[in-house]
């Protein structure tokens, strides 16, 4: 199985940057985790944090701009809820990076094995560290 693209993403770089930027703050991550349990009001959301309501609202705006949460339009009770799509985009993006490296490292492993077999013929690879260790394999 071969992946089509190394790590590029469907979402635009700017959009992903906004998502990752929004996720870079621990309070905002905690808010998202709370919302994972279901939609809730801003007041309830703010309760566990030692933070003013306006401070929490600021965080919510950042999350909303990134598309990570949506808020109801009812004047008083504006329930917040999680939007899974962008989170999944960000997570998929990371998974592609992980796969990029894991597959590269598989190849590096093979390459190093091959080099080690040929090693005595390559003077530049006779390394002092190796002598220091006194043994190979």
């Amino acid at each position: 199985m071969v992946q089509q693209q190394p790590v590029q993403q469907q979402s635009s770089p700017d959009r992903l940057s906004t998502i990752f930027g929004a996720l870079s703050d621990p309070t905002r991550r905690a808010i998202l985790a709370r919302l994972a349990a279901g939609e809730t009001s801003v007041t309830k959301l703010a309760a566990p944090f030692e933070m003013s309501l306006p401070a929490i609202s600021k965080h919510l705006k950042v999350l909303e701009r990134a598309g990570l949460i949506a808020r109801g339009r009812e004047a008083q009770w504006r329930p917040c809820r999680l939007e899974a799509g962008p989170l999944k985009d960000a997570s998929d993006f990371l998974q592609r990076y992980r796969r990029f490296w894991e597959e590269s490292f598989d190849r590096l492993e093979d390459y190093l094995r091959e080099l080690k077999m040929r090693e005595p013929k390559i003077p530049e690879l006779k390394i002092k560290e190796q002598k220091k260790n006194g043994r190979r394999k």
């Binding site: 089509q4 992903l16 906004t18 994972a36 894991e102 590096l108 190093l112 002092k128």
Partner: protein
Amino acid sequence: MDAENSVVTEPQERVLVIERVFDAPRALVFKAWTEPERMVRWFGPLGFTTTVLKADFQPGGGYRFHMRSPEGADHWLQGVYREVVEPERLISTFCWADANGNPTGPETLLTVTLDERGAKTRLTLHQSGFESVTARDAHNGGWSSSLERLAEYLAKA
């Protein structure tokens, strides 16, 4: 259920951390990373061919690779070396780009550390800062890999 705690107490700030032990001396692994003719032998997913267009191995020096997928799709990868400490550490920026060098993904910071494990070498790769540089400067923080768990949780919910 305690989803909030699993996120809040997660101290890890780096996005991606991958460790691998290679059965080869450290200096050799370092060479495999830093010598272009060696690097192209393994860099990239299976089936990709990599060409080093530029690799100026010194702090502040730039690099640019071309990669072609098995299906013939072209990708470019570029960045600047920040720290080169032979044979143990390599820090560089890392960014996907188009043919003209315009970024197509967020700029990330890549730290590769090599530790001796007897005759073997443990490689630790840290890749962080997936938000844009501007966003990173503004927030001055990383974010947690718990995001992945959260996304998994959401997928099930």
